[in-house]
Symmetry: C2
Subunit: 298 residues, 2 copies
């Protein structure tokens, strides 16, 4: 993997803030936690917290605005063990500017892509940060299992599924969004082991194998709803069942899920989110927020 120009969370946030960085963040600031963003009117905040509590795999809640309207002061929920104090995720953060690109939703429908949220963020908006699987890219690479989308310099493919979320308050009718990383079938157990302890950033995969494509209700792996189409290992064509021998799709819960949930619930008013693949990168490093040691046993 080539070295990125942005080695820290702060460097990545400042580059987004100055609009020097406007592209996807996969591969940037290795080992730093990356986060999905969703910004909701305060009246939806209790339902959203409950949605995250009931669906922690696609929606691992890291932090939220410390009060409605706040974009730079966050309350962190991330604690490595049940008895430790919450981790401070980032100094000098501005949720209106620190993702490279954003999407604006009105009444549950995406209406606009914007470079920053300063013209849209109101005194009643609450921002939520959700863990992102980019956080364990480096760990997989170190284990000899580099994510193919990184090697090929592409965005990870993301898909709508028919797998229902547990409903919570106003959030009904939602389904999982998943990201997909292709791996050799014999490597799947190792991939599960490496990612298991990343409980704050989706953890181990939720499904793997071609059979699961149908069970998840994904129509065509070669046509993701977000990100880039997955390629074969030789980069010569789009991945499909059987055309890349021994390779299977491996699916993780994806932090785009809350944005999909907003659309399914048809929430009224203005909602904002990061553009898929364009994350807010934090100061904290992944190993600082591992689950308990014994997550790896058994």
């Amino acid at each position: 993997m080539t070295k990125t120009p942005y080695q820290t969370g702060l460097a990545t946030r400042l580059a987004s803030r100055s609009q020097t960085l406007t592209s996807k963040t996969s591969g940037l600031a290795p080992s730093h936690l990356q986060a999905n963003l969703i910004v909701l009117p305060a009246r939806y905040a209790p339902s959203f917290r409950l949605l995250c509590q009931r669906n922690p795999v696609p929606c691992p809640l890291l932090a939220e605005s410390s009060s409605p309207g706040s974009f730079s002061s966050l309350t962190s929920f991330l604690r490595p063990t049940p008895t430790s104090k919450p981790v401070n995720l980032a100094k000098d953060i501005d949720l209106r500017h620190d993702a490279p690109k954003y999407i604006i939703y009105r009444d549950g429908k995406p209406v606009e892509e914007v470079a920053d949220l300063s013209a849209h963020w109101g005194p009643d908006h609450v921002g939520f940060l959700i863990g992102c699987s980019y956080s364990f890219e480096e760990a997989l690479a170190s284990a000899g299992l580099p994510p193919r989308h990184i090697v090929q310099g592409r965005n990870v493919p993301m898909y709508r599924t028919k797998l229902p979320l547990c409903p919570a308050g106003v959030f009904t009718g939602g389904t999982y969004v998943v990201s997909m990383w292709p791996y050799r079938a014999e490597d799947v157990e190792k991939v599960r082991e490496v990612t298991r302890r990343y409980v704050a950033t989706h953890g181990e995969p939720i499904a793997w194998g071609w059979e699961e494509v149908r069970r998840l209700g994904i129509e065509d792996v070669s046509r993701p709803e977000w990100g880039d189409a997955p390629l074969m290992g030789d980069g010569e064509g789009v991945l499909a069942e059987g055309n890349d021998e021994g390779v299977v799709p491996v699916f993780w819960g994806c932090g785009v899920t809350p944005q999909e949930a907003v659309m399914r619930a048809g929430l009224e008013g203005m909602v904002m989110g990061h553009a898929p693949g364009h994350m807010v990168v934090l100061d904290v490093k992944d190993h600082e927020v591992f689950g308990p040691e014994d997550v790896l046993e058994g």
Copy 2:
């Protein structure tokens, strides 16, 4: 609802312990938390904790043996808010005796129903208590929404579904088990509101309506895998789609899910669980472990 002879958790546990009580616990000790039990060889404990963490709606983990082999000293995980201390669930508890009936599993298969576990519990066994929806029966009754199975003096029907659990370590291939309580369609939102704050005991329903029966992969509502078949409101026949006008099935995550997960994973060795419907009743009352107040808003 008629008054039960057992008004407290301790009274119910002692009656089970002396084998005075050998039947289902639904309706007993109103407002007290009831718990599902699963007892695993210690080597599976880390995977099981992770399974609960990733699937908190069907598997809300309340407590576990404070060390392998312990059946009377428990570590509680239940705290009303993120900053409060864990609640002490029960004084004078013996997991080997305090459910009215148990099931023994060998190598992932149920082999025997027993009155107590004293001949089976070994120094390597770890017991886990999982929240049970019986805990909010009284709250629903107080809201004018008495559970039909209580009114009719029957066990709640429980079903296997095709809704996958998020896998965790050795636990792969598991699916939700759900309980079903029939309600009038126009009462479903009220039922959701009343049960929402019971986050430690499955919380609000995961699905409702006849369409959801098919989506969950339940073949026939009149033939539950555990418990009694649901009856029509007049008690004259078994409930089926359209034969009880305006009534729809409402489904909750069910604490039998871990036992089903043990079978799906084909765990080797001896596993024990409560017999479905025959719970361990605790000292703590449901309102002591509500989720945060704001769970009810929005």
